[in-house]
């Protein structure tokens, strides 16, 4: 062993390696805000679509959903681009591809159903909830995050219930699921993000 290296020096270097590898692998990307943003977007679309009429999911104002969704996509992309870049990790790429592919599928399907006039509130909610249950479930499993898996379970229950309940019950169920899985979960995730983003110690040459 080199004379200048003590056992303590060696341990410190091993600890530094472990800390830095863990720091790199830590899921540093903060996406809690997207849940909140999309929760608000769903509420805006639902209330705008039913403006001046009894509250239903699809409503009579057919431009409400497409315009709100396109605006939400634009806002999400604009905020994401401006945020501090994070390192590329396999988990990050897996989650990014999962959510973007889910979003594209859901958008295309909803747009096609809407433009063909074959959209119906129960089917629409069942599809949206199933897609969101799938994405949250997969994401929660990858991250081993029980709160997100719980969120997926709520969406799956919503998807099943949507096939059986009345139109007024459907609205209540969907609004409640959005509140729990988007608004509450989004705020919870943002709180965790804020706690996690503490700066690390300095390392000198």
């Amino acid at each position: 062993m080199p004379e200048e290296m003590t056992s303590q020096d060696l341990k410190e270097r091993l600890a530094l390696i472990e800390t830095m590898i863990a720091e790199g692998r830590k899921q540093t990307q903060s996406w809690g805000w997207t849940f909140l943003l999309w929760g608000i977007a769903y509420y805006v679309a639902i209330f705008w679509a039913a403006w001046g009429q009894p509250l239903t999911i699809v409503g009579q104002n057919y431009i409400a959903w497409p315009i709100t969704m396109i605006t939400a996509i634009a806002v999400t992309v604009a905020i994401a681009v401006r945020r501090t870049p994070q390192p590329g990790t396999k988990i990050g790429r897996a989650l990014g591809s999962l959510w973007s592919c889910m979003g594209i599928s859901l958008f295309l399907l909803s747009a096609a159903l809407g433009s063909s006039g074959r959209i119906e509130a129960h089917t629409f909610v069942a599809i949206v909830a199933a897609f969101l249950g799938f994405a949250n479930g997969a994401s929660g499993t990858i991250l081993r995050w029980k709160a997100q898996i719980a969120s997926a379970v709520v969406w799956w229950i919503t998807s099943v219930l949507a096939c059986f309940v009345s139109l007024s019950q459907l609205t209540t169920v969907f609004l409640a699921a959005i509140f729990l899985c988007q608004i509450v979960f989004g705020i919870y995730a943002m709180t965790l993000d804020a706690r996690r983003s503490r700066p690390t110690g300095e390392v000198h040459a």
């Binding site: 530094l16 870049p85 390192p87």
Partner: protein, 100 residues
């Protein structure tokens, strides 16, 4: 008595060791992220990364994103292997110091 290993002097510097370890945990990372994680200055970080690049332990990819320069670093196979050897040597030395 087995001969004790030499520690790789390129990796031995604390900042270079931290950089290689950080890059071992990600696919690639930007200069700004590495700076934030290490708390290092631009000049020092740039110099240490250049040294690692010269010996082939990291590769840099320079591009423009929204008209701003962006440099991304990635650990090479040589770098990963050097880091693994360094950790192995450290553990061996530590074992020797415990048994001394």
């Amino acid at each position: 008595m087995p001969e004790l290993p030499e520690l790789n002097p390129v990796i031995h510097g604390k900042l270079r060791l931290a950089l290689l370890s950080l890059l071992a945990g990600v696919e690639e990372a930007e200069f700004t992220w590495l700076r934030a994680q290490t708390g290092s200055t631009d000049g020092n970080l740039g110099a240490q990364l250049l040294k690692l690049e010269e010996v082939g332990y990291v590769v840099a990819d320079k591009k423009f994103v929204q008209r701003k320069p962006q440099t991304t670093y990635r650990l090479t196979e040589t770098g990963r292997s050097a880091l693994t050897d360094y950790v192995r040597a450290l553990k061996q030395l530590l074992g020797a110091s415990i048994n001394a």
